[in-house]
């Protein structure tokens, strides 16, 4: 399970990889949160283009990071989600939060 984190002009981009389930969501959460709390970005981009599988643990991961970036006064964007991942995201109604899912 990989997450490649980079920063540019206050924007934090997390390129996720592999499969996101309960087993590896915890480690991802820790590495994203510790970076975000150190660098205080005003925008967080979660890039799912290298993620082959995600279950509802990924929804918990997105929702928790949404709360975190809102606390920092920033925005969250979700990009690169496959059709399977988009279906899971749709079930959670994340678009209703005004979350950008591309």
């Amino acid at each position: 399970m990989a997450a490649d984190i980079s920063f540019c002009d206050g924007c934090m981009t997390v390129r996720l990889g592999g499969e996101i389930d309960h087993h590896n969501a915890g480690l991802l959460r820790e590495s994203i949160d510790s970076s975000a709390e150190r660098k205080l970005p005003n925008k967080l981009i979660l890039d799912f283009s290298k993620v082959g599988f995600m279950d509802s643990s990924g929804i918990g991961l997105i929702m928790g990071r949404y709360r975190l970036i809102k606390e920092l006064g920033g925005e969250l964007e979700v990009i690169g989600a496959s059709p399977q991942i988009k279906r899971v995201i749709k079930l959670a109604g994340l678009e209703r939060l005004g979350l950008n899912v591309g």
Binding site: E19, D21, H22, H23, A25, G26, R29, F53, D55, S56, S57, I59, G60, L61, M63, G64, P83, Q84, R87, V88, L91, A92
Partner: protein, 146 residues
Amino acid sequence: MEKPINEMRLVVPSRSANESFARVAVAAFVSQLDPTLDELSDIKTAVSEAVTNCIVHGYRDTIGSIYINARLFQNGKICVKIHDTGCGIADVKQAMEPLYTTGGSDRSGLGFTVMESFTDKLRVRSTPGKGTTVTLEKHIERRTHD
């Protein structure tokens, strides 16, 4: 009762590393019905949710056995039973409500919602103190081959 054309049983301890093993093992077994990639990923997602529930809720502070039974039928029906002998659910109806969770702030409470919408039929039987059985059913479109 209808007889399955093939059957698989799998028992794994409730360690989270087995979430991916369980969903991939079930997917590999049902592949012989020649499902589409979408059908296969629906099954993987539903199995992943059910197995995660056994680990996070059924055996919350302990390690127990997760029993998985998958049956394939002539008409393309797949039936996957996922059973634990953990703490059980007092109120199944409440547990199945979207967004309801007892798992803390990073659990979405969508496990049963995902199982329900990614399969054709979901049955949940639970006895507090005895355990929970989740049965997932999905119909695979039979495709004709030349």
